[in-house]
Amino acid sequence: MRLAGPLTFAVAIILSLAGVAHSQEKPLREIVNSFAEARNFNQTEEIVAELGATGDPAVVPVLRALSEGDLHVRKSDNQVFIVSGRGKTLTIIDPLTGEMVGEEGKRALSKIRVNNGLRRLIRDTIGGLALGSPDPAARLRAARTLISNPDASSLPAIEAALEKETDPEVAAGMMRARAAAILVSERPDAEKSEAITAVAAISTQDALSLLLGFRGQATGELREQVDRAIARVERVQSYWAMAQNVWYGLSLGSVLLLAAIGLAITFGVMGVINMAHGEMVMIGAYVTFVVQEIIRTSAPWLFDWSLAIALPLAFLTAGAIGYALERGIIRFLYGRPLETLLATWGVSLILQQAVRTIFGPTNREVGSPSWMSGAFEIGQLTITWNRLYIVLFALAVFAVLLFVLNRTSFGLQMRAVTQNRRMAAAMGIRTPRVDAMTFALGSGVAGLAGVALSQIDNVSPNLGQGYIIDSFMVVVFGGVGNLWGTFVGALTLGIANKFLEPYAGAVLGKILVLVFIILFIQKRPRGLFALKGRAVEA
């Protein structure tokens, strides 16, 4: 049986906690120091097992350090320490007391090596210890681990722990763990029948696989019951899968929206076929990289704020480049939209190569602040924090842009200039300045997108190339000159893509979406939200 080693082991600990077990034989420090003698992973495993068997919570920090690769042996006297810090000298800490012992050169220490198998064993061992932990959250985690990895031999321990449990939530968790374990045990059918009901109520993927596993050995009434339970869980699962797909679609759509929304201004509103748009996104991502690099070397405590700092800088940098681009090149090309394609294509080549020359051709590391890492669950929806923030950020950018366009005097001037340039000029609007500021705004928004995309994609000179075509599709699909079109277009394409993907695969799904766009444009030659009126024909 898989995981037999670690789990039996975890169970031994649990048993020891339940009061069935043996007394300590060797002092802890001696066992810990024996890590120095371990020649291979198997020997290390034995020592971990021995440590776990003590049932002493003091071993938890040792095991955790081992799992994280922070447990080292001092070569001179074979003493084992937890180390911290980076660089050539490391701080060494006593593994059991947690006191600082001093400093040691990296070369004088050798790391105790771990692999996945060991990490798994350590996790289970710590988990087993945690079933008796004073912290209810740790007990709940331990119970959950036991649901995912049920083992019949852990039943007595769970039941013992359940008797002592006072926290109702943890108790419920342990009840489920018990039910999961019963399904793989030799208990009588009546208990199993109860367990099926309890497991079916969990309705997760784990529960389903447990039931499916049990189905093979079930007979008679139990078989019928388990079939019904499976059907039920599958139904619940399919609803959640649908919801999950909508979420994925929204998240993809928001990425498209971010990438396209700057283009909706430069291309949609101003009519410039801006092939350098992707490079503005890339510049935003590189600004994030530079900001993080400076923070890493001079102010590491600011790291969680790095994106917040990068946002205005990316906006200003990309905006400034956009401004220069408009003043230097594009203003000579108004009225010749197709020529702007050529010039901005040239600019995009230059920007790409410039970034490649300055930052090198390889990917650059942009880290995620701690508040953007990981995921949380709503029911059975797994929502990753970074995706959630990107969705929210895309919505915020869109809202601000809408506000700027519709509620500020700059927005008014901008709309006036795009709708009737000569009349606007006659009314005293400085059209060249408005043009430049509009282009800078579009580019700046692309820079903002770059900050967000640096969290999910490569930060390399090719970053922009990956988004430029999709961005054009979104803007054209939504209807040139209309921000709402871009918004609806991005989300529609995102969700359509994600609903097609499970059936058609990632590639075919994308092809189908493209074909759909082509056909859609035949039906509505000016996109989803066409501008009406005589201005469009001009």
Binding site: I273, L342, G346
Partner: protein, 390 residues
């Protein structure tokens, strides 16, 4: 003799000169490569022949694009797709010619199918062992695609950037499709390792020279077709649809049919260019469908001068020659040079090199004529004066 024939058919002198020049190159380059001793100063090395042959096919592609963009106002960002489809049709023929010389020695199936455990040749690969069939497909597949695509798009009156973007969507979708190994076109690797064409070794210098000459002839024919179309009544309609589509429609013409015809002819020309390209470079793969490639074709045409017949040819030769030279000489910096060139051309030569030159010459001629007229006027005005004055 040729020029006489062409002149009888009502072609301008400049066009005739171009055709003669292309055909002369089509003869001179291969001859110099095959006949002259390598140490001879006029000897053209084989790699230059291969290179120039490739440029000629690019020139034909640019000319095809110019027919729809320069003369008909349809900016296609998907012409690379027609080029690639023609290339794939030729590539499939060349693959079938490999026969048992593939690494696995399978007489029917190409190597990539063998090692992916395909059991039999897919239906759409049948017939490509025949040269004539492949040649029909070279024209038919891009032509049909353009016809169907254009039929829907032009009748729905999709114009301007919308049309450009959906042509881009088309080539992008095709690229993704051809990248799929399940399609049976060799996936990312495409078709390669060709052995011979019509029984001649594709790697032999003589074959290369013949392919070069064929490309030159194809380009010359392309020039004639373009010149004949644009010079005819139909050509006037194309320009009319470009400049004032609604007005043309109100005059009782059907601009969508004009566009559809031009688009289809252009796609066939692009397909032929692709078919000539493949045996000369030795590979066809989905990268040719990449939207960036199609944009590059637009760039060549613009650099040379759209709306002229010589412009796209000059543009394709110049930009690609520059690319080949720069990537060897300035491997780290050539993109700056290329990008800078595009910006420069748009800003300072908005009509492209040929267009600007034509304007310049035209202006000088006008100026000279104006001067002449002035002189004559002055002379005629001066004549009576002596009478009255002295």
């Amino acid at each position: 003799m040729i020029s006489g024939y062409l002149a009888r058919n009502g072609l301008e002198g400049r066009i005739i000169a171009t055709i003669v020049l292309i055909l002369a190159a089509g003869v001179a380059v291969p001859v110099s490569n095959l006949v002259l001793d390598p140490s001879h100063p006029l000897h053209v090395p084989t790699y230059i022949v291969a290179l120039l042959g490739k440029y000629l096919t690019y020139a034909l592609l640019a000319l095809a694009l110019d027919l729809v963009w320069g003369f008909c106002g349809i900016l296609s960002l998907g012409h690379g797709a027609f080029f690639a489809l023609g290339g794939y049709a030729m590539g499939m023929y060349l693959m079938r010619q490999i026969g048992t010389r593939g690494v696995y020695g399978n007489p029917v199936m190409p190597d990539f199918m063998v090692f992916l455990n395909w059991k039999e040749l897919p239906w759409y690969w049948h017939g490509f062992d025949q040269f004539w069939f492949a040649m029909v497909m070279v024209a038919l597949v891009p032509g049909m695609l353009a016809f169907v695509f254009g039929w829907f798009a032009f009748r729905s009156r999709v114009t301007g950037v919308y049309l450009s973007i959906i042509t881009q969507a088309m080539t992008y979708a095709l690229m993704l499709a051809f990248f799929r190994n399940d399609m049976g076109f060799g996936g990312n690797n495409g078709l390669t390792d060709f052995k011979d064409i019509l029984g001649f070794d594709v790697q032999a210098d003589t074959t290369r020279a013949a392919l070069f000459a064929a490309s030159a002839v194809a380009l010359a024919i392309g020039v004639i077709i373009t010149a004949r179309i644009t010079g005819s009544h139909f050509g006037k309609l194309m320009i009319a649809s470009r400049d004032a589509e609604s007005r043309t429609r109100f005059l009782g013409y059907r601009p969508e049919m004009v566009k559809l015809f031009a688009f289809t002819v252009s796609a066939v020309m692009a397909g032929v260019a692709g078919a000539l390209y493949v045996p000369q470079v030795g590979i066809i793969n989905p990268g040719e469908f990449a939207p960036a490639n199609s944009i590059e074709v637009v760039v060549w045409t613009a650099v040379g001068g759209r709306g002229t017949i010589i412009g796209p040819i000059i543009g394709a030769l110049l930009v690609n020659g520059g690319k080949s030279w720069f990537t060897g000489v300035l491997p780290e910096f050539w993109l700056f040079a290329l990008g800078g060139l595009f910006v420069f051309v748009t800003l300072f030569l908005p009509k492209g090199i040929v267009g600007t030159l034509q304007d310049h010459i035209g202006r000088r001629r006008e100026k000279r004529q104006a001067e002449k007229a002035e002189e004559a006027e002055a002379a005629s005005a001066a004549e009576p004066t002596p009478v009255g004055a002295e």
